[in-house]
Every structure is written in C-alpha cells, then in structure tokens.
C-alpha cells in the first residue's frame, strides 16, 4: 500500500513538474505566417474612418477589413509614411518603413505560445526609449468590440493620444471609445521589452500595463541579426483584462514592434488578423 502511495506521489510530482516546465512547442511543426508590420504615420481611427481623407473608409463601413485591402501592400504603405510622402509630419531619417515578421502559434491545452521572429532593420535615430532597443506588444480581442474584427488595434489609436500631433495631454494613452474592462470591451495586452521586462495589461478606457495573470513568460533574444520573441500565455487568462481563450474559438489579434529605441506612436504595426485556437484563422495555434 505504502509503495502504491509513493509511486502515485512520484507520478503526480512528475506530472506537475512537466506542466510547470511548460515544454516548449516544436516550432518546426507550427507553420509560419508572414506578416509585414509597417510604419503607420499619423493614422488614428478618426483618420481611418474619414472618407474624405481615406478612401478605404467606405470599405470599412461596408464590413471590409483593413487587411482585405492593404495586406499585400503593407511595405509600400510603410515606405510612403516613413518618408513623409503621406500623413507623417515628423520624418525620422533612416527609419525602416516596414519589417517582415514570421508569426507562429501553438498551444498545449493549458498555454498559448506565440513566436515572433524578424531581422533587425537599419536604424540609428535619436533614442526615445534609452532602456529598450526593441519592444513587442500583442493585443487580443474577444469579438466584443464593434469593428475590432476589421480594424484590429486601430480601435485603440486616437488622434488625441500622446505623441500624436494633436495630442495635448501627455498622459493620454491608447483607449477604446466606450471601453469598459468589466463589461468585456477591452483589448488584452501583453508586452515584451528587450531590457527583459514583461507586462500583462489591457486597453479599455485607458491603457493599463498590469492586472493580467495570463502571461507566464515573455522571452526574447537576438541571434545574429534576427530577433526571436516567444510569449507563453495561459489560455484561460484569469486576471483583470485577460480574455479567456478556448479551443475551437477565434480571436482578433494585432501586434506592434517598437524598433530602434522608439516609443509612443513611432512603432511598426500589423493590420488586424485572427488567431484561432485549433480553429481556422489567419494564425492558428494547433495543439501539440
């Protein structure tokens, strides 16, 4: 009897140990989705939805996503904006217009794993964030915010936010119009910084960089000229501003890279895509 108890205890410990160690997924089995993040200039949601400025406002009103029109031309758009040809009054010399990123996803029933890899583009501009050469933020949305399935992170990007030309309030961060974390109208936000920090917060009526309990780990390193960042996030979430993910469901996802010590709006952003947990989507996390 005692032997049986001992064996059971050992078995349980091993099982728990294996769970705690979060066996990394076999990334060679996770297909890579190529997504080009681009420099967005000054394109808040107010600009996006203004037909006299942005021809695509019509398409958006008709239910078309940004990616449906712009996915293939993200690099061209980035080039136009980063060089000041369009909607960018403050040109940063030498800044990359876009960065092609490979995104992979997997899950093990308990955790979602997201892997981002990209080649470090040229830079060298004045450092806005001296501590971090690079930051990577990901936002998830649980199909509760109107239009989030079309416009991705743009629902949080407003003309009166800090670092925008019309932003008068230095404390005004990203926000969702009518955002309410308790009511589920929010974007779940996780961030990795090259200095080694990780943040788990959300964007509702304002951006909050804490409160989440879903982010287990955010690890990044630069091998040669390539950055590789891996997030490990509990599917269930569990904290404030965490969305609970489940197999068979899809979520809206977007991400941004603050390259070359930038901060605020001077990032490279992705259009809005979908993340499926064992479900067909732009990025699918399959169980391993």
């Amino acid at each position: 009897m005692q032997k049986l108890i001992t064996a059971s205890t050992v078995g349980l410990l091993l099982a728990l140990g294996a769970g705690g160690a979060m066996a990394a997924p076999d990334w060679s089995k996770a297909p890579g989705k190529k997504i080009t993040v681009f420099y967005p200039g000054v394109s808040p949601i107010e600009w996006i939805t203004k037909g006299t400025e942005h021809g695509g406002a019509k398409g958006l009103k008709k239910g078309e996503s940004c990616a449906a029109c712009h996915d293939e031309e993200a690099a061209d758009m980035g080039k136009k904006m980063v060089t000041g040809q369009k909607i960018e009054p403050k040109v940063i010399k030498g800044k990359a217009g876009s960065i092609p990123v490979t995104v992979q996803a997997a899950h093990d029933g308990a955790n979602l794993y997201l892997r981002f890899s990209w080649k470090q583009p040229a830079g060298g501009a004045e450092k806005m964030d001296k501590d971090n050469q690079v930051k990577l933020a990901v936002m998830f949305e649980d199909n509760k915010i109107e239009r989030a399935n079309l416009s991705g992170c743009w629902e949080t990007c407003h003309q009166d936010a800090r670092s925008m030309p019309e932003g008068k309030d230095d404390k005004k961060t990203k926000y969702v119009t009518g955002g309410d974390v308790k009511g589920g109208k929010f974007y779940d936000l996780i961030q990795w910084t090259s200095k080694g920090a990780k943040h788990d917060g959300y964007v509702a009526d304002k951006r909050v960089m804490e409160g989440g309990k879903g982010l287990v780990e955010a690890k990044g390193e630069k091998k040669g000229d390539e950055w590789v960042v891996v997030f490990t996030r509990k599917l269930a979430g569990g904290g404030e501003g965490d969305i609970a993910m489940a197999a068979g469901k899809t979520y809206n996802i977007g991400f941004a890279i603050h390259d070359d010590h930038t901060s605020g709006r001077f990032h490279h952003v992705s259009l809005g895509y979908t993340l499926g947990i064992d479900a067909k989507a732009d990025i699918t996390a399959t169980k391993q």
């Binding site: 019509k58 293939e72 031309e73």
Partner: protein, 198 residues
C-alpha cells in the same frame, strides 16, 4: 417700321418662290456644299473649345486646376496616353456635348465678371464648383470616365489588392466612378463634406 416689314416679307417671298434662275441640281449641290462648310466650321469651332490650349487660355484654369492636374497620372504616365480637360469634363456624344457647351456659357459670364479671377476667390468657390461637377458626373454615370474605362474591361488580377477590393465592392453596390474617384486629377477641396464622399 413699315419698311422693315416689307424687307422681311420680300426676303420671305424670295425664299418661298421657286427659283427660275438656278436648276434644282445646282440648288441641291450648292446647299449640300454650303451645309458641309457650315457644319465643318461649326465643329471646328466646337472642337477648338475642347483643346487643352483653349481651356488653359484663361489664367483661372492655368494657374489653379491645371497645375494640380499636371502632377497626376492622367497627365503623365507610363504609356503616354493623356486625358486632357475635355476628355473628363465634356461628353463625347453630340447631344450631351452640345448641352454641356450651352451650360458652359455660364463660365463665360463668370470669366467676364471675374468670379474666380484671384487665387483667394477660386479657393472660396472651389468646393461649390467641385460639387457641381461631381453632381453632373454622378447624374451621367461618370460618362466621361467610361469613354476610356469600364468595369468589364478591367482585369482584377492585374490590379493591386486595394483596387481589386474597391472595384469588387463598387460593382456589387452599383456605384459609379466618381463616387470614389473625386480628387483623381485635382486636389480635393477644403471643407469637403463626408456626404460628398459617400
């Protein structure tokens, strides 16, 4: 007054009386030749008013809209095909063209009264002028655009993703070219209403 009346009635009498001097053939051939000369002359004048040189003969056009148009694809492009002012602003068919020319007499009045003879006056009036033109093009289903372009001749595979999607939506919703292509050859006016771009 009595003299005038007698002149008119004498002329009318000559016109009504069969000719005793000229044969019917001479009259027919002469009339035909005169018709060709008149018709040709009339069209030569009409076509002269359709040239770019005529349009930019006035500084109002030359210094404002023309300068903007010179930076667009309708002026300068890979294939060397140029759409001049009249290609976009005057219908090709005879009836609509004559109607447009009659309407254009208002522009002569505008020229004489100097309604847009300075940059400031032009800018102040630009929105209403543009709205008139958009309204006209909307009403004729973008006739001038369709002289060269048509949805059925487009190959979506050769278009950029954005154009492909927008044309697909336009066809589905039975939109006309000008619904989306305002500002394609000139700057969009300040103060343009969102309704203008519906």
């Amino acid at each position: 007054m009595a003299d005038d009346t007698s002149v008119i009635s004498r002329c009318w009498g000559v016109l009504r009386r069969p000719s005793a001097k000229y044969s019917l053939l001479t009259l027919v051939v002469g009339g035909f030749a005169a018709g060709i000369v008149f018709w040709g002359g009339f069209h030569t004048v009409v076509e002269a008013t359709n040239t770019e040189t005529f349009c930019i003969g006035c500084h109002e056009m030359r210094n404002n809209v023309y300068e903007e148009y010179k930076k667009t694809i309708h002026y300068n492009n890979r294939t060397g095909v140029r759409a001049v002012c009249s290609d976009c602003h005057v219908p090709k068919e005879w009836g609509p063209k004559m109607l447009r020319k009659i309407q254009a007499t208002r522009e002569v009045y505008g020229k004489l009264t100097g309604s847009i003879d300075t940059r400031e006056k032009f800018e102040a009036k630009r929105l209403s002028l543009a709205e008139n033109e958009w309204k006209r093009m909307k009403a004729n289903d973008s006739l001038e655009c369709r002289n060269c372009h048509s949805m059925v001749s487009m190959d979506p595979e050769k278009q950029k993703q954005r154009a492909r999607k927008q044309h697909e939506l336009a066809q589905r919703d039975k939109q006309t070219c000008i619904d989306c292509h305002k500002g394609i050859a000139h700057q969009k006016p300040q103060g343009m209403k969102e309704d203008d771009d519906e």
